[in-house]
Amino acid sequence: MLYEISLSLRKYLEAKVLEITKVQLLYDNISLSEIPKPFLTIDFLNDVVTVVASGRSSVSESYNFQIGVFANSYSELLRLKAKVQDVLASSDGVPLYDEADMLTGDRFVCDVVGFTRMPNEDIANETNNHRGYFDVSVRVLRNVGSKIFTQ
């Protein structure tokens, strides 16, 4: 499910937050300095899998992400923060894409835990000005081997 959820979050944020230039999934050795601001980043932290039924058939999974907001100015950061928070916490949920990049018709909701603003310690690095991070988790309950889930 991780691939599908990451892809869906990226597409959803790109479609709903029109101010941003890009939503970048973070991977090893990526450089953010070439991306024009404002942009968002999605960074997968960890997942917690718990077996919830006898026979090991049903699992509860919690995927934890940190979503970075990089803005041009302080006021833009605050506006983007409010917008992204509303979009992520929307009760309508995020449309789920499958591995073939097609809409499945399902939607999932996210828990937004909080937002942390990060001060820039290196004035030479302008990419790091006006940035902050959301903690977001997606919890799903599904049968092992199945892509159908409940929340």
Binding site: F115, E121, D135
Partner: protein
């Protein structure tokens, strides 16, 4: 700054159904289990933290503080702790990764302990 809260619900309900003696036992059992759990979480977070001088690690491991009954706090006083937690190249998320995994275990431990106390 983001704060994760770990809440145990339903304890008041359980206590109201017990006599005074039973309620005192459960009361201290939950506190014991909570203290053990938070100390374990703080220790594991410290061991996962990036190390340069070891200051960050030691501040985390020494941090668990009791604020009230079954109410504990842990973290770090190092000024760069927040930056490391969110942006360290390989070890970011050392608080959150441990908390999300161990928090679930702590819930189980408290439930088991309460059950045992009531037997």
């Amino acid at each position: 700054m983001t704060r994760y809260k770990f809440r145990v619900k339903g304890i008041d309900d359980v206590k109201s159904r017990l006599g005074t003696e039973g309620a005192v036992d459960v009361h201290s059992a939950v506190d014991d289990e909570m203290e053990k759990g938070i100390k374990r979480i703080a220790y594991k977070s410290g061991m996962e933290a990036p190390i340069d001088t070891g200051y960050l690690r030691s501040t985390i491991i020494d941090s668990p503080t009791k604020l009230d009954h079954a109410y504990y706090m842990y973290g770090s006083v190092a000024p760069y702790a927040q930056r490391q937690e969110y942006e360290h190249k390989t070890k970011r998320g050392f608080f959150r990764r441990v908390f999300t995994v161990e928090g679930a275990k702590l819930t189980d431990d408290i439930a088991k302990r309460v059950k045992k106390t009531l037997e």
